[in-house]
């Protein structure tokens, strides 16, 4: 439904009720002349194959069926052999060592039209970047064939959880979008509870909430330096932070003791440290999220009696309710394409994650369960990640919480693996 057709790529997409039939692609062995480069090749092939398959738009034709086993980087494929096994596209690559580092060469072929449609050569200084090379090649293939922007060379920041549900230890953690264990890192030590991390569009900062000395405040984590800096350093709780599209400001909730601890939305300029109040109402105002052009903010408010979704101008003017359905709404997040708002809704005992147009029309539910929360967009606006929590029991069992990925058509849901429980996922922009 969101696939645009790229004429050059000769993509044939079958859409039945929003479901996309995956396109078959063959990926040859990624050749390496010595044991190191052969190992890099195996890793790369696995990353690329997993990425493309997990997107739901491709599947990798089983290697055992391949008739031609040559390196097809410098040699024209026998397209008939690949047609026979119904591969629509064919990827071949090799890895070698050069005096500048590790070099990858890649060719992408359109099998049915018997022609090369993409070629690439790139060199990295050392093997620490191998995973990123795999993601980058995946993005190129995805973009070339679907005509959409890729999303593989990205990271997910989330909250890692462990321990009893009433004394949960929560740490910031970060990983590649595929959740691969080799990419996983903890960013905080678990001494203080952390919640709701979000990436800056500039890719270098994460804003989140931390209970340092039992004071819940908004912080910024610098991925380059590892430094943590408080943003909302004044009496009263600050929470629910998100960056503005230019990464120069953070919009967040502030619960002012001089305002009966009622949460209002504030904008904090990170350069001048000046804050401006955007909402003024006796209800709770929280979970603000900027439109990608920076002109509007969607947020959650119970000003009408129950929590609903509202949109306002960036200066707080022209507040309009957009949620129209029954139920309790929350967690609105503006799509990076600008056209949709993802949200959670609690109704009839279940949480729902859905999307609606920015005027609140065409609401549709993508996934429903007992406890779902924290939708976050892929940078290309085609997928959502969120967390799903199981019911808990009086004896302390249950309550497991996991991070999930889903196409906004509602198809292709899968778990993103994390070493412990995971919640509050947020996606980086394309790196």
């Amino acid at each position: 439904m969101f696939l645009s057709l790229n004429a050059n790529a000769a993509l044939e997409v079958t859409i039945a009720q929003g479901k996309v039939e995956p396109t078959p692609i063959a990926i040859t062995q990624i050749f390496g002349a010595d044991s190191d480069t052969a190992r890099y090749g195996n890793t790369l092939r696995q990353i690329i194959s997993n990425n493309l398959t997990n997107s739901g738009l491709f599947y990798t034709v089983n290697e055992d069926l391949y008739i031609q086993s040559d390196n097809l980087v410098e040699k024209v494929p026998r397209f008939e052999d690949w047609k026979l096994i119904k591969a629509q596209f064919l990827l071949s690559a090799d890895v070698s060592k050069t005096d500048k580092g590790i070099r990858l060469r890649m060719r992408l072929y359109d099998v049915f039209n018997a022609k090369e449609i993409e070629k690439l050569q790139l060199t990295i200084p050392d093997e620490n970047l191998i995973r990123r090379v795999g993601h980058t090649v995946s993005d190129i293939v995805y973009e070339r064939i679907t005509g959409e922007t890729g999303y593989f060379d990205t990271r997910i920041v989330y909250v890692s959880e462990i321990g009893p549900l009433d004394q949960r230890v929560k740490r910031l953690a970060i990983m590649d979008q595929d959740g691969h264990i080799d990419s996983h890192q903890f960013l905080t030590d678990g001494k203080n509870m952390v919640l709701t991390p979000r990436f800056a569009p500039n890719k270098q900062l994460i804003t989140y909430m931390e209970y340092k000395n039992n004071l819940p405040r908004v912080y910024i984590y610098n991925l380059k330096t590892g430094e943590r800096e408080i943003v909302g350093d004044f009496p009263g709780m600050t929470f629910a932070p998100r960056f503005s599209p230019d990464s120069q400001s953070v919009v967040m909730s502030f619960s002012d003791p001089n305002n009966a601890a009622n949460s209002e939305i504030y904008l904090m300029d990170l350069n001048t440290r000046s804050r401006s109040r955007l909402t003024n109402d006796s209800g709770i105002d929280t979970s603000p999220s900027f439109s990608p052009d920076g002109e509007k903010i969607v947020f959650n408010s119970d000003r009408g009696g129950s929590p609903q979704l509202f949109i306002m101008d960036k200066n707080g003017d022209n507040i309009k309710r957009i949620s129209k359905g029954r139920g309790v709404y929350g967690n609105p997040v503006w799509s990076p394409r600008g056209d949709l708002i993802a949200f959670t809704k609690l109704t009839q005992g279940n949480f729902h994650i859905g999307v609606m147009d920015v005027n609140g029309n065409n609401e549709r539910v993508i996934v429903r369960d007992f406890a779902l929360e924290s939708p976050a967009w892929s940078p290309n606006g085609r997928y959502l990640i969120f967390h799903r929590q199981k019911r808990s029991n009086l004896d302390g069992t249950g309550g497991e919480v996991t991070i999930h990925f889903i196409d906004i058509t509602g198809y292709n849901e899968r778990i993103i693996p994390t070493p412990r429980d995971g919640s509050d996922p947020a996606w980086s922009p394309l790196l």
Binding site: L122, T123, P125, N128, T136, D139, I140, E143, G150, R155, I162, G163, L165, D166, Q167, V169, I174, Q185, F186, L187, D189, G190, N192, M193, L195, T196, Y211, N214, P216, K224, T225, G226, E227, M237, F239, A240, S253, S255, P257, A260, A261, S263, I284, T286, S287, N300, S306, P307, V328, G330, N331, L346, A371, E373, S374, S392, N393, L394, L430, L431
Partner: protein, 164 residues
Amino acid sequence: MLKNLFMLIVAGFFLASCAATKTEQGGDTDAASASASSSSGGEITAGTQEDLIVNVGDRVFFEFDSSELTVDAQATLDAQAAWLMQYPDTNITVEGHADERGTREYNLALGDKRAFSVYSYLAQAGIDTNRMEYVSWGKERPEVIGSDETAYSQNRRGVTLVSN
């Protein structure tokens, strides 16, 4: 993207070199778990948390999605105020909590309103605000684990903790 990749070749991969901690988990030192510790028997020392729990009541409960103090809650807080008058050297932190049936952020806001309801009631009852702090834990620190109304009704609470 290719341009991006070229730039990263030059600049190196900042995420890979970030100063992330790789240590195993530390203990969670959050004080919240200290709430509602039960009596271990024997004499109860006057003016302590245990005294507050056993002889006054350390908590009030809220209706769903509400931060208004019920009649029962007000009675409990009247007793807490009297107790705090009796022990003028005692300082407290009021914690506001929510059940799990709301978003994390909304429940943080709700928990803060609940904590503030308790805090301001005690202030109006004559307790010096210099003796009191308040904090929201949203739905992060349930008293009772469980996904049913029995647990939820115990978790929608304001808890008064002796902090010194």
